[in-house]
Symmetry: D2
Subunit: 366 residues, 4 copies
């Protein structure tokens, strides 16, 4: 149970290390008949790839994805979809001289503790490069959800360091607004402040964390499972599986917890013959199951641990050393994390859409 597979009905298995020949995924359980081409996946990969702006890592990767199986005559077959993305700008030599050094708040030490060895080239399996495979897989889920359920999945940068987008009207943020600037914050003024904060931090050899907000519209009521596989539990697991994620909340989250039932409860009303709530403090989920309102929440990302300032650390043999880090990296991972968060949401929601289908009394035909 080595943890490289996710999902019950819509399943994703990823493989690959940061500086190996390639990374990839096997997507199993996508229903047959979905029109699909590499270009569908590429659109999302291009939002995640490094080098897309001067705010991100200078590693030059085109992240071109190849579909190796599971698509035939332009449609999915129902069989596993093999995906591969070549690593083109791997530079292992940059890491060789530091291969014995445990970089603070990276996974170097924990991988050694777990496996007794590690691929020391740029984080190996722990590198955020692995998320390229998830984004490609999630793009399949997104397309299926759009075609079958008209879902809208939008995430954006809400906090960078001390800069916060306070007045984000969850109903009105669109992908277009998010993509209108490189920071991926829908408010251009705040975006500009965030950009300046990131640039300043980068120039100081430091890094910044932040928070992503997300909203998923048009989720039907009834997705999610009681008890252990509640929708918050499944989405929460996926979001916490993104590198550097350290906090997740749904609806009014931590703030709502400091309030009272009379203020937080979402009273029901009828709207166009449908059950809706007057407020959405629950973030679209009650008892672990979607209630038809938008699913909302946010994810906190710690600052990128790779910084240029000198740090105290130890080596694999227990020596105390000072690390002056190099390596190409992002001063703030938030803008590139947007498509990753969206991919994770899509993957989990598609899984639950199929799970829900599978537990109804729908006789199969033929």
């Amino acid at each position: 149970m080595a943890g490289n597979t996710r999902g019950r009905m819509f399943r994703i298995t990823t493989w690959g290390e940061s500086h190996g020949p390639s990374v990839g995924a096997v997507v199993d359980g996508c229903p047959a008949g979905l029109p699909l081409a590499a270009a569908d996946l590429q659109a999302e990969l291009d939002r995640r790839r490094p080098g897309q702006s001067d705010l991100s890592s200078s590693r030059r990767e085109t992240d071109k994805v190849k579909i190796l199986s599971g698509v035939f005559e332009g449609e999915t077959l129902g069989t596993p979809i093999g995906l591969e993305i070549k690593n083109r700008d791997a530079r292992p030599s940059e890491y060789e001289e530091r291969k014995e050094i445990y970089r603070p708040s990276h996974a170097d030490y924990t991988y050694d503790a777990k496996y007794g060895r590690r691929n020391w080239m740029g984080g190996g399996r722990a590198s955020a490069r692995e998320t390229a495979a998830r984004v490609a897989a999630g793009a399949i889920a997104r397309k299926w959800l759009v075609e079958n359920h008209s879902l809208e999945i939008v995430a954006w940068v809400k906090v960078v360091g001390k800069i916060e987008l306070k007045k984000d009207n969850l109903d009105q943020v669109t992908r277009q607004k998010v993509e209108s600037n490189e920071v991926r914050c829908p408010d251009p003024e705040i975006a500009q402040k965030m950009r300046e904060a990131i640039e300043k931090c980068r120039d100081q050899g430091d890094s910044l964390g932040g928070e992503l907000q997300f909203v998923v519209r048009n989720v039907p009521a009834g997705w999610g499972e009681p008890v252990f596989d509640k929708l918050e539990a499944e989405l929460g697991k996926a979001l916490f599986s993104i590198p550097a994620a350290k906090g997740v909340q749904f609806g009014s989250g931590f703030a709502g917890a400091r309030s009272t039932g009379s203020r937080q409860n979402d009273e029901f009303k009828m709207e166009d013959g449908k059950v809706r709530t007057q407020t959405n403090n629950s973030g679209g989920i009650q008892g672990g199951i979607s209630n038809g309102m938008p699913i909302t929440g946010s994810v906190a990302f710690k600052p990128v641990p790779t910084i240029s300032q000198p740090q105290q650390t130890v080596t694999a043999s227990g020596e105390q050393v000072t690390l002056e880090a190099g390596g190409r990296h992002d001063p703030c991972v938030l803008p590139r994390a947007v498509p990753v968060v969206e991919a994770e949401l899509a993957s989990v929601l598609m899984d639950h859409a199929l799970r829900q289908q599978g537990q109804k009394n729908i006789p199969t035909s033929k």
Copy 2:
């Protein structure tokens, strides 16, 4: 995939509704040879059961657990451990008159949307009563973790409404301090303020949310899996599966995300020949794998949705009605959630302890 089973190697399946004959669990994968008696489980159940103080629901349940299988001559057999807890104080009649009404922020509507029906007696399967089965199961994990790895798992109430325990020194909180008062806050003065807030809120027919802090000491480095089953992901999923949980964070969490890498990175040092960190902003987990430092974090619980104040809502047939709720309930669930959070942490950590065993090169004998 109906979501009532958790775990890979240490697996828990729960069953039962709030007002049915009983609730229970099947615990599969506990290694043979663990000394175990019902009393081991009862100690934890007694911390969770209703009616233990005037702050909790007046439902009278002794929550006596019976072990139906898997234990023989005082030790576990390695085969499934069947557990049953009878429901003694079920009062379905209290719910009958409101069975068509969707209680705001409860799971009434979402269960109907999902299944086309629901057990309307007190929440049915969605009731927090189901957590009794988890606490019993988690007590087995806790005992195994204590005996095999000397783990210490401690949770406590950090926030109730506006009252917050700000100076919680994570290293010094003990179970004894937590259990010294009914609120389960280790600081007696803050505990008293929380008690007053809960009583005041109860008298107003309202309810309060809050936040639980937890720490797990002595987790060896190397537990947790890369990628999808990171330790934050697995623990986060379990914590979000607790009824009313709406936020989870690890280490410095949301606050740390607003800081910089130079402030948040945990520099390494050697201590008694072991790799340790000087700070613990990572909450004991790096790259999804434990690093040998205490695992720390917190969980936000929304206010209990059952309140006595009148609320607008709708019925199953779409009529607008005003609900004046009754039912026995807690004005603040936090004190009773402490053993639930600890049980969830124990269950997940035992699962990962066994998973880690299973992927090493340890030849079996005979």
Copy 3:
């Protein structure tokens, strides 16, 4: 991964030992809305229980099943169905004096080797008594399959020792014919010969094995999965999980393997607008997926290992001893295995019916 759970969408977890307080099951994933009462399960349990004729073990068990959860107002809720069957005629004392002795071809030694201990009372977890829980669970699947897909699942005794029902016309065997005699062989004359063989063997203190034939009618084309979860693979796994099963074949099986493609291939034809085959050597499954023809096959059961004749064996401490076995047991398990085989077939087929639903493009509503 202790192996006490089966299924992906329709999941069964069993617990309990032969001479503990009870055995039981948790059935998860049954769609909501299936009319269900204990009597539905009891009908199948009565076919399996000991003491039903002088051909079976004299252990007196009524095998009354109790539904503890998951059914409300006469219908399934979609939540887990807890089932319990009390053990009433346990006689552990009969086993105490032999508790150190490894009975040949039983699981005594292998459980000790695996767990370092075992419940020595009558086989403990390895006892065929565990199958009572499976039969109860399988009865739920059978009912769902009958109501939703009109499936007919029939198994019968084809071979007992040297006596064989050679001319079994698979199309014409009905449950009524099978139940017309205690041996559960649809041909009364062969049944009588089998009865005599069993009685003779019993009088000699020996036991007999045999073979069960099965047919499942009305399975729609399209159930089963490619590659690892082929329908033969999944059904085969379930059948091999029945105690004493040592061989499984589908369609023309071992005999067909000695023939040629020109004789074995099932040519297609159209019948009432449906694709059918002229022969059914494939046993209703091609490429691991049902083709709409009856699913056919057989299971070989080894002779019951408990015999009264003296046998050489060893004790847990390595001493050579002679065992003169006692214990209540069946001289031939085949008649009572019929409902077990049917239950296993039902459980697996329902799981695949739901899996197939879950991978189609069926938009959920609401």
Copy 4:
């Protein structure tokens, strides 16, 4: 749950179609530190590849495997091992003219029934070409089992059509003897008869089925799980997942079922301080758990369904047609199935070795 993944601790996911760009596998859960190179896998792939003798399909594939991840500096990392095998001699055009025709006893019709479409090029996902990925994955398991437990896994051809190797002394067959001829039957005289039968059949445009025998030596006592995941159940599932497998038996199997307990029971004895049995009718497994004796059994394969003789069949649109099949194929698949059977046995046994490790009380260190 689309069925393209196998295993709990040692997990294999395969992808790819017969005439797509490549087939491959992701192997997850192999412990870190196993020395591994592509050559280790190639040795097994070369035994399976087409075109290795005039008895097999004339498709020209070198089946060169590439390791894409999970191996670093000559050893496994503990992270997923990505494997890819290019398809070089795909000839889709050969299939185009027959793409509407359902070939008898192939998976053409059932895939259409399941998915509403299929890759009609040479069997697509249902092609035995997929087993190349399993053989590559199984070679990893085999190497781990040899290094850690000294396992010997040997399979051979026992039956081809009417020719049978009757006197196979299971203790003495070695891989060397099996590989001494192209039929992979350890007795050279019988092998020659089998060769003649295959050639004769091929010249008649027909095909032959047969039976493979296997033995696994040095399996420790204690592998396998009670109840649903018995070792026969898990191995049986894997063997039935091989294309064309229609029967599986363990130990004395179907023949032993026609005998008595007094003849079939395996009496215990002590040998070099170890518990052993005097006979091995149980095939090394009792109560679903290995007993330290060799695991033995056999698999029946139906005749290859592709034949050159004319056959009646129907098209996707329901027309009756006569098929005169072409396509490159084996007249008898048995010789090439030997490495596939061995790979399946290895994969399952490694999974159970790790599962057994994971449920003992072995404290992890660090």
